[in-house]
């Protein structure tokens, strides 16, 4: 394992320190935590009280979540250890920092650990009379869903949920309508990922699983969770077809005639050039399938350390407002912006 680190166990605090030192125009650290909260002038100065939006989870998915804290997206974010849910005390600190008297919405990815830790934080906050609600992102359609299991994982689609809900909160939506909005968006968000090489957790020191020199894992999660099949590498166009077919089955009536936002998401070690080759195939095949694409992002948004591979997310835009929220201004490290001066 070769990584640019000091002590692996200091990775998360040093990374968070690096983020706030590099981008103080967006984020500051909440003392004694590895959580960050907005630090832009629109937030630190006088401003109308809005619903706080807080997310978080294990580290290793950067820029998710701290990289999406800022005007128009998250109010605060909590970073756990690598691939390990953060603890309730830290989430609670983030809730307090984000609360402006209008309540706080938690965006939780569907993992037992995250769900339980965010639940415990909610309990702590209720003692302070902060109204806290949560929505659980479970966009990974590679996993069979069932009422009797853990359900689907939350993966790359989370960034679109954070963008849309964050923009709505910025526009002044109340807690109740944010919950409704978030659940509706999650319902329409479907992702599948593929890995060419597994991620290496620094404290473990070797890849989570081994793939042959020409093998690919379909349906992989963002923590080295194995997928639904392992096969020989195929050309990008064929891969696009496989993933679009799988995702298309999740929408009643398939893809045809529907309007989508598309996210091609690199897992950390996949060059942007390859992501664009894949995006080209995806967009072409969507056009061929008579689907409309109204919004596209291509890049590393929800990564898995040094995993090679990518995921494809489709979000059916059943409400035109969602597209406005996707296009709304945002000033964060990871979504991109240039207006805020340091």
């Amino acid at each position: 394992m070769k990584k640019i680190l000091n002590n692996p166990s200091d990775l998360v605090p040093e990374m968070v320190a690096g983020m706030v030192a590099s981008y103080p125009q967006y984020v500051r650290q909440i003392p004694e935590t590895t959580a960050v909260v907005r630090n832009d002038k629109a937030f630190t100065g006088n401003h109308p009280a809005k619903v706080g939006v807080v997310s978080g989870g294990g580290s290793g998915h950067e820029p998710l979540h701290a990289g999406f804290v800022g005007l128009g997206m998250l109010t605060a974010a909590v970073a756990g250890q690598v691939f390990t849910s953060p603890t309730p005390d830290q989430i609670y600190a983030a809730i307090k920092a984000a609360d402006q008297g209008q309540g706080v919405l938690l965006i939780v990815k569907n993992y037992s650990g995250d769900v339980m830790n965010f639940d415990m934080a909610k309990d702590l906050a209720s003692i302070d009379d902060i109204s806290v609600e949560s929505i659980v992102v479970d966009d990974d359609v590679a996993v069979e869903d069932s009422l009797y299991t853990q359900g689907r994982r939350g993966v790359a689609g989370t960034v679109y949920v954070e963008k849309i809900v964050g923009a709505a909160a910025e526009a002044g939506a109340d807690l109740k309508s944010l919950v409704k909005l978030g659940k509706a968006v999650i319902e329409q968000t479907k992702t599948i990922g593929v890995a060419l090489h597994a991620a290496t957790v620094p404290e473990v020191g070797h890849p989570g699983f081994e793939l042959g020199p020409d093998e690919m894992e379909y349906g992989v999660g963002i923590h080295n969770e194995p997928g639904y099949k392992r096969e020989k590498m195929v050309p990008s166009a064929q891969l696009a077809k496989e993933l679009l077919d799988k995702i298309g089955q999740q929408y009643t009536g398939g893809l045809s005639g529907k309007k989508f936002a598309v996210l091609v998401n690199g897992f950390g070690a996949t060059p942007l050039g390859e992501q664009f080759v894949f995006a080209n195939d995806v967009l072409q095949q969507l056009t061929d399938a008579k689907a409309t694409v109204a919004f596209t992002k291509v890049g590393n948004y929800v990564t898995s350390l040094d995993m090679t591979g990518l995921s494809l997310t489709l979000l059916q835009l059943t409400d035109d407002k969602w597209l406005d929220y996707l296009n709304a201004p945002a000033a964060t490290i990871g979504w991109g912006d240039t207006r805020n001066e340091r």
């Binding site: 005390d89 037992s112 339980m116 830790n117 299991t149």
Partner: protein, 193 residues
């Protein structure tokens, strides 16, 4: 159970976890994300530091100190689960309960409620729930605990990360069940005399 016994229990558990850190992470690599050993090691270290710092006077405060250390240092799935177990024991101790079966029952119920898992879902609940019953029946011993842990092997996971593996989770021990087995066996050792 008294404060001294709990402290000894935690010492024994710390040693056991440190010895088995890599083993637990390996189990979690097979059907999870490979961090269970690290998570638990971080937890038991925090528990030791917390007890030294808090120097709790009674059983309730002792359990609460342990619970807070686990909740605020472990993270992941096991943090809130073990944290809840000790928080529930703290509550029971506050109500002047100190006998092991009653405390374990409170802990087991807390774990089951927090995670929403049932016996047979291939989680630590598969050890906690029947072990509490064994304790009530005066049959909590190392052999029975081992049996409960072993029994997770043929199961298909329905909760936690291992559930994403579906069929492929079959044939592996559940890491949380293994660490729960260690917790209960060190409890027996600490309270044996």
């Amino acid at each position: 159970m008294n404060v001294e016994q709990v402290k000894q229990w935690m010492q024994l558990y710390q040693t056991e976890i440190e010895k088995n850190k890599d083993y637990l992470s390996q189990l979690d690599t097979d059907i999870g994300d490979g961090d269970h050993g690290n998570n638990m090691a971080r937890g038991v270290d925090a528990v030791a530091a917390g007890l030294a710092k808090d120097n709790p006077a009674d059983l309730a405060q002792t359990f609460k100190s342990i619970a807070m250390s686990l909740i605020s240092k472990v993270g992941g799935a096991s943090g809130p689960l073990y944290g809840t177990a000790f928080l529930e024991m703290a509550k029971a101790a506050k109500d002047s309960e100190s006998d092991i079966p009653t405390l374990l029952q409170a802990a087991a119920d807390g774990v089951a409620k927090r995670g929403g898992a049932k016996v047979g879902d291939k989680t630590m609940v598969d050890v906690w729930t029947p072990a509490a019953q064994d304790a009530k029946a005066g049959q909590l011993n190392a052999a029975n605990i081992d049996k409960l842990v072993e029994a997770t092997k043929p199961l298909r996971a329905l909760k936690g990360r291992a559930s994403y593996l579906g069929e492929r989770s079959i044939g592996h021990l559940d890491p949380g069940a293994v660490s729960t087995g260690m917790l209960l066996k060190t409890l027996l050792q600490a309270t044996a005399k």
